[in-house]
C-alpha cells in the first residue's frame, strides 16, 4: 500500500504540477501556432525539473528539511525573503489561475458562466483541504488526472501524417507567418509553464511530511523518473492535438474550450467528457498544490508549524495563511480579469524567477558538510548547472519578450 501511495505523490506532482492551467493554455496555443516546433522545449523542461526535483527530494531526505527552508539557513534571511516574496507573488497568481481553470472546466461541462462556478470551486477546495486526509487527496487527483491520457489517445485517433509531425518536431524556427520574437516568447512561456518551482518545493515538503528516509531514496527517484516524463508526454500530446486540428484552419486558442476541442473532434462526446474530467482534475490538483506550496513556503521561512499531518489548531498560522490565499485568489478571480491573460503573465514571471530559486537548491545539494555522501554527483551537477545557465538566459529575456510581443498576441 505504501508503494502505491508513494507512487501517487509523483503522479500528483506530475499531473497537478506539470500539467496545470499554464500548460493547458500554453501548450494548446503553441500547438495551434507553431505545430510541434517547440516540442524540444518540453524535453529540456522535463530534464531540468527532474534534476532539480530529485535534488530537492534528496535534500529533504538527508536533512529532514525542505529545500527552501535551507536556502534561508545557508544564504541568509535577506536572500530567503527575496525568494519567498517572489515565489509568493507568482504562485499566488497561479492559485487564482488554477481556480479559474477549475471553474472553466465546470463551465465546459455545464455551459454555466465560469464566474458563477468560481465560489463553488473555492468551496470544493476548502472542503478538500479541510476534511480530506493527504493520502486520499493525492490518490484521488493522481488517478483522476490520468484521464488526461485521452490527449495521447486523441493524437493516434486523428491519424496524423507521421513524417509531417517528425519534420515539425525537428524544425527549430518559427512558422512562416510568425516572428522569431513570438517564437522565443513561447519558448519562455513553455519553460515557465513546465518548470514551475512550486512543483519542486511541493515535492520536497511532501517528502518531509511523509518522513522519507535514506532508504526511501530510490522510491523518491522512481516518482521523479515516472512522474515528470509522464507530464511531459501529456504536454507534447496537447501540442500535437492542437497542431492537428487547429493549425490548418488558423484557430487561435483564447479559451480553455479550445484546448479540449481537438479531443472532441477525434473522439466525440465521450472523449470530450473524459478530457473535461482530466482538465478538472489537473487544475484542481494544481490549485491544491499551489495553495499548499505557498503556505509551506511562508511557514518554513518563519519556522512555523505546518503541514497536513498536524491538527489545524497546532498549525493555526499555516492554516490562516492558506485560507487567506484561497480567499484572495477567489476575490481576484471574481474581478472578471481574464484568467488566460493572468496565466500567461504568471508563467512568464515564474520563468524570470527560476534562477533565483534553482541556485540555492544547487548550492545546498553540493554542500558536503550538510549532505555528506548524498551530495550531488557529476550527473546532477552537469544537468543542474546547464539548467541554471539556461534559466538565467530565459530570466533575462522574459520581460523584454513579454512587452515586445504584447504577451504573444503580435
Amino acid at each position: 500500500m505504501k508503494q502505491a501511495f508513494a507512487f501517487t505523490l509523483g503522479t500528483l506532482s506530475a499531473i497537478g504540477g506539470f500539467i496545470d492551467i499554464g500548460d493547458l493554455v500554453a501548450d494548446a496555443q503553441v500547438g495551434a501556432r507553431f505545430g510541434l516546433r517547440l516540442a524540444w522545449v518540453t524535453l529540456f523542461s522535463v530534464a531540468g525539473i527532474m534534476c532539480f526535483s530529485e535534488m530537492a527530494g534528496r535534500i529533504a531526505i538527508k536533512t529532514q528539511r525542505p529545500a527552501l527552508a535551507l536556502a534561508r539557513s545557508r544564504l541568509g534571511p535577506r536572500f530567503g525573503l527575496f525568494g519567498l516574496i517572489g515565489s509568493l507573488l507568482v504562485t499566488g497568481l497561479l492559485v487564482m489561475a488554477e481556480l479559474a481553470g477549475v471553474a472553466l472546466a465546470l463551465q465546459l461541462a455545464t455551459s454555466i458562466n465560469y464566474l458563477l462556478w468560481v465560489p463553488v470551486a473555492a468551496l470544493f477546495v476548502l472542503i478538500v483541504v479541510w476534511r480530506l486526509p493527504f493520502e486520499t487527496m493525492e490518490r484521488l487527483y493522481g488517478v483522476l488526472g490520468l484521464t488526461m491520457l485521452v490527449f495521447v489517445v486523441a493524437v493516434f485517433q486523428l491519424d496524423p501524417n507521421w513524417p509531417n509531425m517528425a519534420q515539425s518536431a525537428t524544425t527549430i524556427a518559427p512558422t512562416a507567418s510568425e516572428s522569431w520574437a513570438t517564437y522565443l516568447f513561447f519558448v519562455v512561456a513553455l519553460i515557465g509553464a513546465q518548470m514551475t518551482p512550486y512543483e519542486m518545493f511541493f515535492f520536497s515538503s511532501g517528502a518531509v511530511d511523509h518522513r522519507w528516509r535514506p532508504r526511501d531514496l530510490w522510491e523518491m527517484r522512481v516518482n521523479v523518473i515516472v512522474g515528470f516524463p509522464l507530464g511531459g508526454l501529456l504536454a507534447v500530446a496537447i501540442q500535437a492535438t492542437a497542431f492537428l486540428v487547429l493549425f490548418e484552419p488558423g484557430i487561435a486558442v483564447e479559451h480553455l474550450s479550445q484546448t479540449a476541442l481537438p479531443v472532441a473532434v477525434a473522439l466525440g462526446k465521450a472523449g470530450l467528457i473524459v478530457a473535461i474530467v482530466g482538465i478538472f482534475a489537473a487544475t484542481f490538483g494544481a490549485t491544491l498544490e499551489t495553495l499548499f506550496s505557498t503556505s509551506y513556503d511562508v511557514a518554513q521561512y518563519f519556522g512555523w508549524s505546518y503541514g497536513k499531518l498536524q491538527p489545524p489548531a497546532r498549525a493555526s498560522r499555516f492554516v490562516t495563511t492558506m485560507l487567506a490565499m484561497l480567499f484572495g485568489a477567489t476575490a481576484l478571480a471574481l474581478t472578471t480579469i481574464n484568467p488566460i491573460t493572468v496565466t500567461i503573465v504568471a508563467v512568464v514571471c515564474s520563468a524570470s524567477l527560476l534562477p533565483f530559486l534553482f541556485l540555492p537548491v544547487l548550492l545546498v545539494a553540493n554542500d558536503r558538510e550538510l549532505m555528506g555522501e548524498m551530495a550531488n554527483g557529476k550527473l546532477s551537477n552537469a544537468v543542474g548547472t546547464a539548467t541554471l545557465v539556461l534559466s538565467c538566459v530565459v530570466s533575462t529575456l522574459a520581460f523584454p519578450l513579454l512587452i515586445l510581443t504584447k504577451g504573444g498576441t503580435v
Binding site: 536533512t63 529532514q64 528539511r65 527552508a69 534561508r72 539557513s73 541568509g76 534571511p77 535577506r78 530567503g80 525573503l81 479541510w130 476534511r131 486526509p133 518563519f302 519556522g303 512555523w304 508549524s305 505546518y306 497536513k308 499531518l309 498536524q310 491538527p311 489545524p312 489548531a313 497546532r314 498549525a315 493555526s316 498560522r317 492554516v319 490562516t320 558538510e369
Partner: protein, 129 residues
C-alpha cells in the same frame, strides 16, 4: 557540549523544535553576553522582531515594528528568548528539552489564531484523521 560549532552554520536561522519535534520557530537572532571577559551566547531569540532587525532596510524595520506592536501589552518586554542551556541537540535541527506548551511567550500569534479563529471553524478537530 564541548564540541566546537560555528554559530553561523549550526545556530543562526536554523529550525528549532521542542522535545516532541514540534516546530517552535527559527533562531532568528542570538543573544550574546559580553560580561566576564569571554563573550558567551546566552539565548536564541525568536520572532519577527529580531528577524526584522537583522534584515534591516524599510521592510525589515516594518517587520520588527509590527511584531513589537503586536506583542505590546504582554507581560514581558523584548522578543521571546530561549536559553541555550535548554538545547539538547543541534543536528539536524535545534532540539530543545522543553515542550512548546512550556514556552508561553513563543508562538503567541499561533495560540491567538488557534483560540480566536481556527478552533472556531467547523471540523477543526480531526482533519488529519
Amino acid at each position: 557540549m564541548s564540541r566546537l560549532v560555528s554559530a553561523r552554520i549550526a545556530l543562526l536561522d536554523n529550525q528549532i523544535v521542542d522535545c516532541h519535534r514540534l516546530p517552535i520557530g527559527r533562531a532568528d537572532d542570538l543573544e550574546i553576553e559580553l560580561g566576564g571577559g569571554v563573550p558567551r551566547i546566552t539565548a536564541l531569540l525568536i520572532g519577527s522582531q529580531p528577524l526584522g532587525d537583522r534584515i534591516g532596510g524599510h521592510l525589515g524595520r516594518a517587520m520588527a515594528a509590527v511584531s513589537a506592536r503586536l506583542r505590546r501589552g504582554a507581560e514581558d518586554d523584548g522578543p521571546p528568548a530561549i536559553p541555550v542551556s535548554s538545547i539538547r541537540d543541534l543536528e539536524p535541527l535545534i532540539e530543545l528539552d522543553l515542550e512548546l506548551d512550556d514556552l508561553p511567550n513563543v508562538a503567541a500569534l499561533e495560540q491567538w489564531l488557534a483560540a480566536h479563529f481556527v478552533e472556531r471553524l467547523p471540523g477543526s478537530g480531526d482533519a488529519s484523521e
